[in-house]
Symmetry: C2
Subunit: 283 residues, 2 copies
Amino acid sequence: MAGMVLDGKAYAKELEGELQARVEQLQKKTGGEPPILATILVGSDPASATYVRMKGNACRRVGMESQSVALPEETTTEELLATIDELNASPRVRGILLQHPVPKQIEERECFDRIAIEKDVDGVTSHGFGRMAMGEAAYGSATPAGIMRLLKRYGIDPSGKEAVVVGRSPILGKPMAMMLLGANATVTICHSRTKNLAEIVQRAEIVVGAVGRPEFIKGSWIRDGAVVVDAGYHPGGVGDIELSAVIDRCSAWTPVPGGVGPMTIATLIAQTVEAAEKAAGIA
Amino acid sequence: MAGMVLDGKAYAKELEGELQARVEQLQKKTGGEPPILATILVGSDPASATYVRMKGNACRRVGMESQSVALPEETTTEELLATIDELNASPRVRGILLQHPVPKQIEERECFDRIAIEKDVDGVTSHGFGRMAMGEAAYGSATPAGIMRLLKRYGIDPSGKEAVVVGRSPILGKPMAMMLLGANATVTICHSRTKNLAEIVQRAEIVVGAVGRPEFIKGSWIRDGAVVVDAGYHPGGVGDIELSAVIDRCSAWTPVPGGVGPMTIATLIAQTVEAAEKAAGIA
């Protein structure tokens, strides 16, 4: 049987409709100017520029404003920290997105962690990660949080299932593992030092590709009936998983594009709306 | 072959010697009164009282002071938070230990997270957990951090190994998993909702029992040659793992008592010394 398509694009669109209504309510209540999501792009990576533009557009579609800060390639850590400090202090800015990755000379972790936790709508701070992992209120990292929303939407409950996350990056693999654990999956985290990766992936009832290498995870590694989540996106529209080899025998899968990507953006926007509601005292 | 004993008691004693020398150096340099570890015990659980007393004693053995705060069973969250605030503000207090567990009416997480991160020498804050998980400087949760020290001491490198952590508590299972991941193990986290636990434990080259139930993990589940770490302690001197059934065919194991327990205390003390050195500007 062909696996069910986990249609992130369609669900994201639907979520946007709900978010638009919430922003409208918020505006009625507060009467002021719309909340702002500030986006910071450092350097001129075209893919990053596209992502930031898409996030700004989504923001405006739901009735918020976006403030885009573009910094040159040679920006220093100190300059970026100063920008973040300004946005932290800006009263209309309800959320701050620092587009990953930043140029090599910048201490990305230090900059992420400078974002005020109440404005960390992209879920990149260590503090937010820790709170999320401990089951406390926190904005989750947008991509894994978007994946959790998508699974829920399609009635896929990770509880008691074996989940294998391939990749352990700070904003994808690690928070994904902690979120699946929070949803009571038995979670295995694999990475570049993992031996027998194929064998470990074969155990997965839910497999998440979060490794950042095109079609690195082979279809043959994945067992029949698994839920296949591909968080990768590479030129040519391929993900981290060799999807074509598995879509006919898995139970569900996220297309690339149109699966995880739109959910990342929708989650960022949803968390910005939530932050704005909280700031207005209505959430 | 009989497995190597990971002798936490002996190593902890050796560490204490080193810590004593560091405290002496610190005192020479600063000339002031010795740094203080503040311990907070809420209620009258005899095991907890014993642990707190042991920690205070270890503190004094290395030349620091301990300040013990004992609060009644009926203490409220607000009262405990106020105590923590005072200790956070106290200039000689370099570390704060809030003994787990606290009575049920108290929001333990809120209280843990109130501890100033620079005084969180027991590694219980969400913030510290997040920083540790992201590879940033942070005091790790004392028990798993003690286990990592013990493994290192005996030349056991988790890199590339399959590690299975049974238990996902905030101060034991979760940080243990993140520390093993940081040391490049392929980590699986199991818990009460895990199916086929025996089968999953069988995969482990390193197994950590962190479940809090006496001999819950059967020796027969553990493969020959595994490294067996038992973080449990129960009346009668048994741990979470049925050790007697596995010590003859594992490669290494932590005795109960005398394995993980002493390392927990030594790590707490080591982290307090480090905090005192940092506060004095010499670390």
